[in-house]
């Protein structure tokens, strides 16, 4: 039982790592679509979020719809505040880490502000950040997943031995 518990914990850790990796890739896709909407169509943020929500996974889709609704209602003051509040809602439903969220928070300070160049610069910076995370994760993820499984399994075995 204890051994199986350890293995299950390992599988879960490995699953969380994989999920985070997938979500970072999805987030990168969203940002590059957003970049396209802004640079090609000069699309306002609410409209862009609404369009992007139809192309992404449920977690991000719900987040984008909620953002879009709040921007349309125009009752909540400045954009960065809305962005921050919606990010904290997103963090409840995602596997992204605190550091990932902090980077996204920074993006909220440039979005909607000044001209197109400023929007694109902010998005590009975030994309660059995500790209480097993806690169590192792609190289390290299989190894880390294996390690997590092995350690959790061994931990389970050791605990079982101790209990015996």
């Amino acid at each position: 039982m204890v051994i199986f518990g350890g293995i299950a914990a390992g599988i879960k850790t490995s699953f969380v790592m994989k999920k985070r990796f997938n979500e970072i890739i999805e987030l990168r896709k969203i940002l590059s679509w957003l970049r396209g909407e802004i640079s090609y169509g000069f699309t306002p943020l609410a409209e862009a979020f609404s369009k992007l929500s139809k192309r992404t996974t449920p977690v991000f889709s719900d987040w984008l719809i909620s953002l879009c609704n709040r921007l349309f209602v125009t009752e909540d003051g400045d954009f960065s505040k809305i962005w921050e509040e919606e990010l904290s809602e997103l963090s409840k439903n995602t596997y992204l880490k605190k550091g990932d969220m902090e980077n996204l928070k920074e993006l909220g300070k440039t979005l909607g502000f000044l001209d197109v160049k400023m929007q694109l610069a902010g998005i590009d910076m975030e994309i660059e950040e995500l790209d480097s995370k993806i690169k590192v994760m792609r190289e390290e993820l299989p190894g880390k997943q294996k390690t997590a499984l092995t350690l959790a399994g061994l931990g389970g075995v050791m605990l079982a031995m101790l209990l015996i």
Binding site: F42, P44, L71, G112, F113, L114, D115, M118, Q119
Partner: protein, 320 residues
């Protein structure tokens, strides 16, 4: 008091403080034509063609000392809401000095202008906002239709009025009536070049105002290019454009007329003489290109017709 969609479109672009005061003031938005926000100055409304201040506790007043003073925060929030948090999406419009919002309302912007290579690059500190409310007055053009139709054909028509005189409202209703058809006139295909989104008030491509069932719209398109595009692509019987004046507009109008299309256009001015003094338009008047001139006045309220002339300047009707 119930707030209609039209009212809400106006309210939702205002800062929350001003929005709440406006709701308290129980304003009939059909009678409201203009709102002026100037930083650290009273908020002024044009209501029933009279000027009022918005009171500090939510009512309209003529006493300046009771007026609500517009703060920098009000202006900042209003600019955010007008642009839907995306001022970058309206760079061209801001450069021209106005943004048209959903419902066809025009928001004029002023402040510190930044210049790049001798040209206006942007308005940096937007501190003055003028919101002009668009009103759809269905039927207001019914009385002029008999004067602009001859043998079932629409005559080339120029509507003349000063800013805020109701020419866009008149043009919109003419478009609707010509497109749908009315007494003595079969419906015709109408092409509208709506450079400022004020005629059809398109939102995401769909008209918010009733412009008729046979109307095609080129939204946010420069007039001169739009007229030529419509001729090539949509083969309209009638082309309608608002606020003509540039050399390119005049050339495009000549082309439209030579293609067998009728043109209905509007221009700023008080009389035909004003138009004769405008360099480009003078030529069209002298060549008798326009067969009807509709001059709008304020004698019987905004948008009332003060004169209708034919191409020779003979008065056909007045004051109705």
């Amino acid at each position: 008091m119930d707030i209609t969609l039209q009212d809400n479109r106006v309210l939702k672009i205002l800062s929350m403080k001003i929005r709440n005061l406006m709701i308290k003031s129980i304003i009939d938005y059909e009678r409201l034509t203009e709102l002026r926000l100037r930083i650290n100055e009273p908020l002024i409304l044009k209501y029933d063609n009279r000027e009022f201040f918005l009171g500090r506790v939510g009512y309209l007043t003529e006493k300046k000392e009771e007026a609500y003073i517009v703060s920098a925060e009000d202006i900042r929030d209003t600019v955010e809401y007008i642009s839907n948090y995306s001022l970058y999406a309206y760079e061209d419009e801001v450069r021209q000095g106005f943004i048209t919002i959903s419902g066809g309302h025009r928001v004029g912007l002023a402040g510190k202008v930044t210049i790049d290579a001798g040209k206006i690059k942007n308005v940096k500190y937007i501190t003055f906002i003028n919101i002009r409310l668009s009103h759809e007055v269905k039927g207001c053009a019914k009385k002029v239709i008999p004067y602009i139709v001859k043998d079932g054909k629409i005559l080339h028509t120029l509507i003349i009025s000063p800013p805020g005189g109701g020419k866009t409202t008149m043009l919109r209703d003419i478009v609707r009536l010509v497109s749908d058809g009315t007494e003595g006139l079969k419906g015709k295909t109408v092409g509208v070049v709506d450079e400022r989104s004020e005629i059809a008030a398109c939102y995401m491509g769909a008209p918010q105002n009733d412009v008729g069932i046979r109307t095609d719209i080129l939204d946010c398109c420069p007039k001169a290019e739009g007229m030529l595009m419509l001729i090539r692509s949509m083969s309209p019987n009638v082309i309608a454009v608002d606020e003509i004046g540039s050399r390119e507009d005049i050339d495009a109008i000549s082309y439209v007329i030579n293609c067998g299309c009728s043109i209905i256009a509007t221009v700023h001015g008080n009389s035909i003489d004003d138009i004769r003094n405008k360099p480009g338009l003078r030529k069209l008047v002298q060549e008798r290109v326009f067969e009807r001139y509709i001059v709008l006045g304020r004698k019987n309220g905004v948008g009332s017709v003060s004169d209708i002339f034919d191409e020779r300047g003979n008065r056909l009707a007045y004051d109705f």
